[in-house]
């Protein structure tokens, strides 16, 4: 009951932060107008046309993108941490982020349009994870250690390929584009992109949230999980596929947004304990709140928008340092 109450509280905070995010920005909108606009979905009420178009065309898609990306990265991070039995793992462990960076850089160097950059980033992300898993399989060993090794090699490979592209890119035109893309931003998310990625992301988040009890067993080790009746390889494969899909879609949509997948699951564990049945949905809610907050800062702190990747890393580091004593005590006696 305590866990359900915590989830309900987090949901209420998310709603409050979401409404506040609609109000803030370079064109501040009064709370009254925002609420009027939101209620106009249910019954016709007059909202000033400028306010309406800002909310409908700019802030709502951005709000949705921030919540989806935050929830996706956090659930993906929490799932990876359970699968790899390591609370310091983040969604990039199998090469998803470096692959996406390389994929995006290829499209930028070839002067492809923006939507192709997203498609190429998604493809790069999936290819890098497949390469990591493939390298692990070469050994004939299906252990976690070999999977980490495969991810390490894949990460190194795609990071070096990205460096080659940066070296070859036009320093006046393409290189800044690559660097800016790698910093991550929600500014280029369009309603069309959102309509493409929303459903698979939501479905993946919900499916992963349902696997909590199985993930708990996986954290005990393969043999122990099998002896409890868990089909380890099948569950691990499904979880890795869904978590990779979430990271890849997020990166394709918004570029590389670091630290969310690492920090947020820890905050969730501090609130609801280590059981993944509650950690995963709580991570989704806190991730959405965290990214909304980071995006608000990115939009409001200066006249030019700050890339959100910088904001999440800065605020993530500060948050982690503040929480470190409690994280340490919650991990005491477990992971060394």
């Amino acid at each position: 009951m305590k866990g359900i109450a915590s989830l309900a509280c987090a949901f209420i905070v998310l709603v409050i932060v979401a409404v506040a995010s609609l109000c803030v920005g370079r064109y501040p909108i009064p709370l009254h107008d925002c609420l009027q606009f939101l209620f106009s979905f249910f019954h016709a009420s007059p909202t000033p046309s400028v306010t309406r178009s800002i909310l409908l065309q700019l802030r709502l898609p951005r709000l949705e993108a921030a919540m989806l990306a935050g929830a996706a990265l956090s659930v993906s991070g929490a799932s990876y941490q359970a699968v790899f039995r390591n609370p310091l793992v983040s969604p990039g462990i199998l090469g998803a982020l470096s692959g996406a960076g390389f994929g995006a850089a290829v499209a930028i160097v070839l002067n492809y349009p923006a939507w192709m950059v997203s498609v190429s980033a998604f493809t790069g992300s999936v290819v890098a994870v497949l390469a990591g898993v493939g390298i692990a399989r070469l050994s004939g060993d299906r252990s976690i250690l070999m999977l980490i090794f495969g991810g390490l090699v894949s990460n190194a490979l795609f990071t070096s390929l990205l460096s080659i592209l940066k070296y070859l890119a036009d320093p006046d035109d393409q290189l800044p584009d690559i660097v800016f893309w790698l910093l991550g931003t929600l500014a280029r998310v369009t309603p069309e992109t959102l309509s493409l990625v929303s459903l698979p992301m939501l479905v993946s988040i919900v499916l992963l949230c349902l696997t909590g009890r199985l993930l708990d067993a996986l954290t005990l080790g393969d043999d122990e999980a099998r002896s409890l009746g868990v089909p380890v390889v099948a569950v691990r494969s499904v979880v890795v596929i869904l978590a990779t899909l979430l990271s890849a879609l997020t990166v394709a949509m918004a570029g590389i947004i670091g630290w969310v997948g690492l920090v947020v699951p820890h905050i969730a564990r501090l609130i609801v304990g280590p059981g993944n049945r509650l950690v995963l949905p709580m991570s989704a809610l806190i991730g959405a709140i965290f990214l909304l907050f980071a995006d608000d800062l990115a939009r409001c702190l200066s006249s030019a928008e700050i890339p959100i990747g910088i904001m999440t890393e800065l605020s993530g580091v500060i948050l982690f340092l503040i929480l470190l004593p409690r994280v340490r005590s919650s991990l005491k006696g477990s992971w060394r």
């Binding site: 409890l228 304990g273 005491k332 477990s334």
Partner: protein
């Protein structure tokens, strides 16, 4: 319920690690699996659990375990590992509840009797007061009791334990053996690897003696674990 092994042989990297092992354990017996390091004791437990492939058959109450799904096996046989490193500080109640996974539909939906099974298992091991404590912060003896409670929560009547006393002090060992004895009296079939033949002689009913992958002797502890039998079992392991 009887646990029967028929002609079990297992190869690892081309090397024969279990060689034609057969035995039968009636229900309610407490059996010690003894032998020097590398004799194949843990491998035999893994084969019974279906964690390692082997030739031959394992029958439980007449049912061939190789024909059952992993969930069906988990509902019949529970495994208590020697030690386990847990990455996250789950509560004791959470740890024991994991024993109910094989009863959940697709691992997701919890059956109504789960809570009763968990509280019942905690009560049987006298550790109900630990339910909300973090498993990782318990003593070795308490952790071992939690793992046995989890095994009971699985609902089967056969328990396989891999050197459960190896990390326990004398008092904790005494309590552990008493708990296992109690379970055997209630009809549980217990197969337990141990490195302590003298203690095994006092507590267990049956002993299986293994050396270099072979079952060298099997029978009531009084007849098998004689001073001479123990000397032969362990001394010969060092002969080149």
């Amino acid at each position: 319920m009887t646990l029967v092994a028929e002609d079990i042989s297992c190869r690892r990297d081309g090397r024969l690690v279990l060689d034609d092992i057969s035995f039968s354990l009636p229900d309610g017996t407490m059996t010690a699996l003894l032998g020097p390091n590398g004799a194949g004791k843990t491998t035999l437990l893994r084969v019974i659990l279906g964690l390692e492939k082997a030739d031959g058959r394992i029958l439980l109450n007449g049912a061939d375990l190789s024909t059952l799904t992993r969930r069906e096996v988990a509902r019949r046989i529970a495994y208590v590992p020697q030690t386990n490193t847990v990455a996250f500080a789950y509560t004791v109640a959470d740890m024991v509840a994991m024993g109910r996974l094989s009863h959940a539909r697709f691992g997701l939906i919890t059956p109504a009797d789960d809570k009763d099974a968990v509280t019942g298992a905690l009560a049987r091991l006298n550790i109900s007061h630990l339910a909300d404590r973090a498993y990782t912060q318990l003593s070795g003896g308490e952790q071992q009791a939690v793992l046995i409670a989890r095994a009971l929560a699985q609902g089967g009547r056969t328990l396989l334990l891999d050197e459960p006393a190896s990390a326990l002090d004398f008092g904790q060992q005494k309590r552990l053996w008493a708990q296992l004895r109690d379970l055997a009296e209630q009809g549980y079939t217990i197969l337990c690897t141990t490195h302590d033949p003298l203690r095994a002689r006092e507590i267990f009913d049956v002993a299986l003696l293994m050396r270099q992958g072979r079952l060298v002797d099997c029978g009531a502890v009084g007849s098998v674990l004689t001073d001479e039998g123990i000397d032969t079992l362990y001394a010969s392991a060092h002969v080149p």
